[in-house]
C-alpha cells in the first residue's frame, strides 16, 4: 500500500472516492486538451481542482502534468481506498466538518497517519463517541457512563430513604 500524507480535509473513504473521481476527470480533461492542441484546435481552459485535491497534492508534493503519473496516482488511490485502516466513530448527532477534521488529526497523529474515519450517528448515545476498531469497541458515550454509575445513584436513593 502506498504511503500518502493525508490532509485533514480528507477524512473518510468517501473523500478518497471523490479524489479518485476528480483525478479521473482531470486526467480526461488534460488528455483531451493535449489532443486538441495536437490538431491545432483551441486547448480550452485549465481544469480547476477542488480544495481536497489541492491539499492532497500539496501535502504529497505531487504533480498531474504527466499522464503516467496521473494514472499511477489513480491506481494507488484506489488501492489505498480498499486497504486503508478505518476507525468507525459513532456520535449522538451529526458531526460538523471542523470537529471531524480535529478528530481525524488526533487519530492520524496518535494512532495511524494513514487512518480513515467512518462516521455514524446513533441518538441513543446521548453524547460522547462510540469507537469501533478492527477488533474492539470503545464505548465512550454518555449513556455508557450513566449505565456504569447507576449503582451510585441507587445507593444515594437508599441512603436518602434510610435517612428519612
Amino acid at each position: 500500500m502506498s504511503e500518502f500524507v493525508l490532509p485533514a480535509s480528507v477524512i473518510s473513504k468517501s473523500d478518497i472516492s471523490r479524489l479518485v473521481i476528480e483525478l479521473e476527470w482531470v486526467d480526461n480533461e488534460i488528455t483531451a486538451a493535449a489532443v486538441r492542441a495536437g490538431v491545432g484546435s483551441e486547448s480550452g481552459s485549465q481544469p480547476v481542482y477542488s480544495v481536497q485535491l489541492n491539499d492532497f497534492l500539496d501535502k504529497n508534493k505531487l504533480s498531474l502534468e504527466k499522464g503516467s503519473e496521473r494514472s499511477d496516482l489513480i491506481k494507488q488511490l484506489r488501492a489505498f481506498k480498499s486497504d486503508a485502516p478505518v476507525i468507525h466513530m459513532t456520535f449522538a448527532g451529526a458531526a460538523d466538518r471542523e470537529s471531524l477534521e480535529q478528530l481525524t488529526a488526533w487519530v492520524r497523529e496518535q494512532v495511524n497517519p494513514q487512518a480513515l474515519i467512518a462516521v455514524g450517528v446513533q441518538p441513543s448515545l446521548v453524547g460522547g463517541v462510540y469507537i469501533r476498531t478492527p477488533n474492539k469497541v470503545h464505548d465512550l458515550s454518555l449513556r455508557h457512563a450513566f449505565d456504569g454509575r447507576r449503582d451510585v445513584l441507587v445507593k444515594e436513593l437508599e441512603a436518602l430513604r434510610v435517612g428519612k
Binding site: 470537529s99 478492527p134 454518555l142 430513604r161
Partner: protein
C-alpha cells in the same frame, strides 16, 4: 104575527077606484098625477112596512136566536149528559174488564213466582245441607291432616334441633380453626407485605435511578453539541489511546 096585520079587506082598492074614476072622470094628466101620487103613497107604505117589517124581523130573529140558543144549549146539555153517562158506563165497563184481566194475570204471576220461590228455597236448602256436609267432612280431613303434619313437624324439629346442635359444634370448631388460620394468614400476610414493600422499594429505587438517568440523558442530550463535546471526547480517546493503537497494529 104582525106581518099581515094590515091586510086589506075584500073592498075595491083606491087604485081600482081611481082607475074606474080615471076612466070616467080624469084625463091623462090627472091620471098621471094620481099615478105619481099613488106611487108615492105606495112607496111610503112600502117603506113604512119595510121598516116595521125589518124591526119585527130583527126582533123575531133575535127571539129566534135566543130560543135557538136555548134550545141548542138544552140539546147540547142533554146530549153531553147522555154522552157522559154512556162514556162513563163504557169506560167503567172497560176498566172493570181490564182490571179483571190484570188481576187474573197478576194472580197467575204471583202463583208462578211463589212456586218458583218455593222451588228455589228447596234447592237452596238442599245445597246448604250438602255444603254443610262437605264442610264438615273437609274440616275433619283438615284436622286429621293437620294432626299428621304437626306430628311430622315435631319429629322434624327434633331432628333439626339435633342437626343445629351438631352444626353449631362444627361451626364453633370451624370458627376456631378459621381463627387460627386467620392468625397464621395475618402473620404470613404481614411478612409478605414487608417483603413486597422491600421489593417495591428496591424496584422503586431502581426505577427512580432509571428515571433520573433518563431525565438527565434527555436533559443533557439536547444541550450537547459536537464542538462542546470535542475536548471531552479527545480526552477520553487519549485515555484509551493505547488500546486503540494496539488494536490497529494487529
Amino acid at each position: 104575527m104582525g106581518l099581515f096585520s094590515k091586510k086589506q079587506v075584500d073592498e075595491p082598492t083606491q087604485d081600482e077606484v081611481a082607475d074606474d074614476a080615471e076612466r070616467d072622470f080624469l084625463d091623462e094628466t090627472f091620471r098621471e098625477e094620481l099615478r105619481n101620487h099613488g106611487r108615492w103613497y105606495f112607496e111610503k107604505v112600502i117603506k113604512e112596512n119595510g121598516t116595521l117589517f125589518k124591526k119585527e124581523l130583527d126582533a123575531t130573529v133575535a127571539q129566534i136566536s135566543v130560543e135557538l140558543e136555548e134550545h141548542v144549549i138544552k140539546q147540547l146539555d142533554a146530549s153531553i149528559t147522555q154522552i157522559n153517562t154512556e162514556l162513563k158506563e163504557h169506560v167503567t165497563q172497560r176498566l172493570d174488564e181490564q182490571f179483571a184481566e190484570y188481576g187474573k194475570a197478576m194472580q197467575e204471576a204471583q202463583q208462578f213466582t211463589l212456586e218458583s220461590l218455593t222451588r228455589s228455597a228447596h234447592d237452596l236448602q238442599e245445597q246448604h245441607q250438602k255444603l254443610a256436609e262437605t264442610l264438615k267432612k273437609s274440616i275433619s280431613d283438615q284436622e286429621e291432616a293437620l294432626n299428621k303434619v304437626s306430628s311430622e313437624n315435631v319429629t322434624r324439629m327434633d331432628a333439626m334441633k339435633d342437626a343445629q346442635d351438631k352444626a353449631l359444634v362444627s361451626l364453633n370448631e370451624s370458627a376456631k380453626a378459621l381463627q387460627e388460620q386467620h392468625d397464621q394468614m395475618g402473620e404470613t400476610l404481614k411478612k409478605n407485605v414487608a417483603d413486597q414493600q422491600e421489593i417495591l422499594v428496591n424496584a422503586f429505587e431502581g426505577n427512580m435511578a432509571h428515571i433520573v438517568e433518563h431525565y438527565l440523558l434527555d436533559a443533557v442530550g439536547d444541550q450537547y453539541d459536537m464542538k462542546s463535546q470535542l475536548p471531552s471526547i479527545i480526552q477520553q480517546m487519549d485515555e484509551n489511546k493505547q488500546a486503540i493503537v494496539d488494536d490497529m497494529k494487529l
